[in-house]
Symmetry: C2
DNA sequence: TTTAATTTTGACCACTTGGTTAATCCATTT
DNA sequence: AAATGGATTAACCAAGTGGTCAAAATTAAA
């Protein structure tokens, strides 16, 4: 419980997060994590018994990072257009700060589907909350009839994909100009929100 | 050049495709590929000198699979709404038949960005072709003003993501009901097309 | 049938991997 | 200062990795 200990554990977690997010479970090496943390490899095992345990910690962390805010927004009493706008902004902003998360999660859920489904169920997220809001607005005539599930998947798709496909966009479209790519991403907050609202607004 | 030889090589390629697509480069094992092909591991090296070489073959194949049709559609002289409709249909249908491609490519382009950018450039795909069509239609007043790049990324996003995120959708939303998931995917051909057109049509 | 060439195999190798262990270091307590 | 206990290290290990090689099996050529 000393300062020392907490610092070391955190150091390892930070290093592990960096390596795991960049290379995935299979591509990550315990030695590389130790190097990144500038400590002996045994120390990593001393704090987290195995690669699996360490990975679990990182995965849970990465995963829990992008759930709460979204759930919070969805449960609020703002009108649906504002909800959508905040949702898109929050999602994109979070990925700007954690650009590896999309690819990481998308790859790892394929390697181990059960783990992630379990994590999702732990979060107590209820996909029907937003669905009810949508249906409600449809009935009020605020928006056009639409399948709420398709709508939410559309929203998430347009936020996630440009990050998962960053090397293509940056390398092929933007000639490796990082700033051009980042500006494109920044534009999307407004662009995607408007694109969605234009499609559903009555 | 006998029947035998061609068959063996194809057998290996098929096995390798299956394993690489499911597990990625790092997760794939030469032994597993050999087992899948029901041959000796050395034989894999006999036909494709190394894991890298074999992977390159698979990657190029997987990659080239989803480029031509799309390019063809985009270059045609159909009106923009039809182009969009065909684009969405083609894309989704192809992923239905190759469900691992999205995750595979998204993961591997992060591991080796240069390779994929090179492959893209080989394809001679010109992103501006569709862009010009869009601008043209905007000027004619057929569709609302929109940044063509954001539009095309939106389109691809909504096609790709539901496949990359299959384990989440299937496990969390559809309670592991494969058919429910597949039906949802099938619905998206119509749903996404309408969603887009509704947003841009004047 | 004999010979030559090709394809397939099993044994093997060097290296890397995650993980263990015993010794050492170091701060705190007595 | 001595002892205690946790933190850190270096050396090491067994299992698995991609890859090689020479022998065997099969096919083609003579």
């Amino acid at each position: 419980m000393t300062e020392e200990e907490k610092t070391t554990e955190k150091t390892i977690l930070d290093a592990a997060k960096k390596v795991f997010l960049a290379k995935g479970y299979d591509g990550a090496r315990m030695q590389e994590i130790a190097d990144e943390a500038k400590i002996n490899k045994s120390l990593v095992h001393y704090y987290f018994r195995s690669k699996d345990k360490l990975f679990d910690a990182i995965f849970k962390d990465a995963f829990s990072q992008f759930i709460p805010k979204v759930a919070e927004t969805m449960a609020s009493d703002k009108d649906i257009f504002e909800k959508i706008s905040i949702f898109i902004d929050t999602y994109i902003e979070m990925f700007i700060n954690n650009p590896h998360i999309p690819t990481f999660i998308l790859h790892e859920i394929n390697r181990n589907p059960d783990r992630i489904v379990g994590l999702f169920k732990e979060t107590k997220i209820d996909p029907s909350v937003f669905g009810l809001t949508v249906i409600n607005e449809i009935n009020k005539g605020t928006i056009k009839p639409i399948n709420p599930l398709h709508l939410i998947i559309n929203m998430i798709s347009m936020c996630v994909f440009p990050f998962a496909a960053k090397p293509i966009l940056k390398g092929f479209i933007f000639q490796n100009n990082e700033n051009a790519y980042l500006q494109f991403i920044a534009e999307r907050k407004k662009e995607v929100t408007e694109f969605i609202i234009r499609s559903i607004k009555n």
